[in-house]
């Protein structure tokens, strides 16, 4: 049974008009890293906000750990796209703010030590007393990640956390995130626009068709071994098969799905296919198996 279960989630802005997205169903197992990819406007951020409890869907349900999600909770840590650090607090105070809320009975020293540990984990041990304005974009996002990890949530939600970073910084932080997640077996749901980032980090990639009436059209299982590194991943023959599959989806298939009636998402494992031409798998035709 899935740790997080999303059932026929839908969102419409007016009752008569078409939904932004509908029939969104998926599950995330404990310890699984799931990325969601889709064009702008298909409702990815709304889905994440619904999972976080910050937004409400027009229909459908979200269950985590057997309980329905109603409102925000310390069980789900969120890393915001715009880092959302409080500019009047130091790096340490920003992390402590959440830690104090998670464990109100802790002493000041305990809160400080716990927060420092997580800031050191993202390589910011030397910037504890700096204000966010004194940090680079990458460092700010690291603080955001430390803040989310420090409350030790059951699940982490990342809204395109590296979107605003340059390629080099992004690579370094991806590595850090990868090692932290591998060490902590954190359950993660992440929005990204970066195909390579998704392949590097995810166990499962959800592909959303274009809106309106967007839905999860395909679920790509990343079948490469879990101990991936950014420097070696592109030597794996599976890598380009998965990558081509994702890019083809974004370029053409995401649009083809738009007109089709809703159906169960296809579960595909392009990494294990022997270089079969993608064209032989038109939308609607089962590739490996339907989700059961």
């Amino acid at each position: 049974m899935s740790f997080l279960k999303v059932e026929s989630l839908a969102r419409r802005y007016d009752k008569a008009g078409p939904a932004v997205f509908e029939n969104v169903d998926f599950g995330i197992a404990r310890g699984e890293f799931v990325c969601i990819i889709g064009h702008s406007g298909c409702g990815k951020t709304t889905i994440l906000n619904v999972l976080a409890g910050l937004d409400e869907a027009s229909g459908g349900h979200v269950f985590m750990d057997g309980r329905e999600v109603r409102g925000p909770s310390l069980d789900r840590g969120v890393v915001f796209q715009s880092h959302a650090l409080m500019p009047w607090m130091t790096t340490l105070a920003n992390v402590e703010f959440g830690v104090r809320s998670r464990w109100p009975e802790w002493s000041r020293a305990q809160v400080g030590a716990h927060s420092t540990k997580y800031l050191e984990m993202v390589g910011l041990g030397k910037a504890l007393h700096k204000k966010p304005s004194e940090l680079s974009g990458g460092m700010k996002q690291r603080v955001g990640i430390a803040r989310a990890f420090a409350i030790e949530p059951k699940m982490l939600l990342l809204d395109e956390p590296f979107g605003a970073l340059d390629a080099l910084t992004r690579g370094t932080i991806q590595d850090e995130l990868l090692s932290i997640v591998q060490a902590t077996h954190q359950t993660v749901f992440m929005i990204t626009h970066d195909v390579d980032e998704a392949i590097l980090l995810a166990d499962k990639i959800l592909l959303m068709s274009n809106g309106p009436q967007a839905r999860i059209a395909e679920i790509v299982e990343v079948t490469m071994p879990r101990d991936r590194t950014r420097s070696s991943i592109h030597h794996d023959p599976q890598y380009y098969r998965i990558r081509n599959h994702l890019v083809d989806f974004l370029v053409s298939r995401s649009n083809d799905y738009a007109g089709l009636p809703a159906s169960e998402p296809l579960v595909v494992r392009p990494g294990l296919e022997e270089d079969a031409p993608i064209e032989s798998h038109p939308p609607g035709a089962p590739v490996v198996r339907l989700v059961s």
Binding site: W88, G98, P132
Partner: protein
């Protein structure tokens, strides 16, 4: 270009200020210098109004030296008290500052919590907005008769006028600051399950503090403007009463001195608030 000039010659601006002062003082001095005139007047009239005034050689308008001497006199002995109409400038200024502070702090006590409520709740905002829009443009002195009639005590009436004039900028700025706190910060607090009270004090208040402080700075400026006029009306004590009293005495020198002191105190109040504002400001 002007920036580089300021960096290489930091003394240039103060020097220019000094030059402007000297030019202004000289012009003032020349304009008020006693004229050499030989007008023959009735000696009894001369004895009555003073020789210089009788000949028209010396006008009642003082020169810079007269004002300087008077100012020095006041500075040497600011706190003398020789009856109702003859108190030291320090005492008068003290009364005015005390009234301004009382009215201003009362206004802050009302405006900041109320502004918080208005900023947090669109419902309260829409409900109170018409009243604020009508009450805000009313000259604070228009309240004076009403205050005197209902409160009866003239001193408290003056404080009420300060209260009513300094409440609006603080109220409006607090509401605006609170309403425009970044959604992201509030969402962070929500996902961390921070209690509403802690969110108000640890997120909304610091986030809105610079805007609130701007309102407080505008308010203290207005309060200091209004206190002079208010004290002219209620009389008794205060720098405004002092100015009016010296007008009745036709002592332009004292009026000049008071004007100078009013300006200086106003500047000090503004500087103090600016310092406080810098303490709570943050860089994004």
């Amino acid at each position: 270009m002007s920036d580089t000039m300021n960096k290489t010659k930091p003394w240039l601006a103060p020097l220019l200020s000094l030059l402007i002062l000297l030019v202004a003082l000289s012009a003032w001095h020349l304009a008020t210098r006693p004229k050499e005139a030989a007008v023959i007047v009735d000696p009894e009239y001369a004895a009555l109004v003073g020789g210089a005034a009788a000949t028209g050689a010396k006008s009642a308008f003082p020169g810079p030296a007269d004002v300087g001497a008077k100012l020095w006199e006041h500075i040497k002995d600011p706190f003398y008290d020789r009856g109702t109409n003859d108190k030291g400038l320090g005492i008068q200024i003290g009364y005015s500052i005390a009234r301004v502070m009382a009215g201003y702090l009362l206004a802050a006590l009302v405006a900041i919590p109320l502004g918080f409520a208005i900023g947090m709740s669109p419902l309260i905002y829409r409900a109170l907005d018409p009243y604020i829009q009508i009450l805000k443009p009313i000259s604070p002195l228009a309240w004076m008769p009403l205050a005197l009639y209902t409160i009866k005590d003239s001193g408290i009436s003056a404080i009420f006028v300060i209260f009513i004039c300094s409440i609006w900028p603080m109220l409006i700025n607090t509401a605006f600051g609170v309403a425009s706190v970044r959604r992201d910060w509030l969402n962070v607090a929500r996902t961390l399950e921070v209690s509403p009270l802690r969110t108000a004090f640890c997120v909304i208040l610091p986030a809105a503090a610079p805007t609130i402080m701007t309102g407080m700075r505008i308010s203290i400026g207005i309060a200091w403007l209004v206190i002079v006029a208010a004290e002219m009306l209620v009389g008794g004590t205060g720098i405004g009463y002092f100015v009016w009293n010296e007008w009745n005495n036709l002592s332009i020198t004292n009026i000049f001195t008071a004007i100078l002191v009013i300006g200086l105190v106003g500047m000090l109040l503004d500087t103090a608030l600016a310092r406080l504002a810098r303490l709570v400001s943050y860089k994004e």
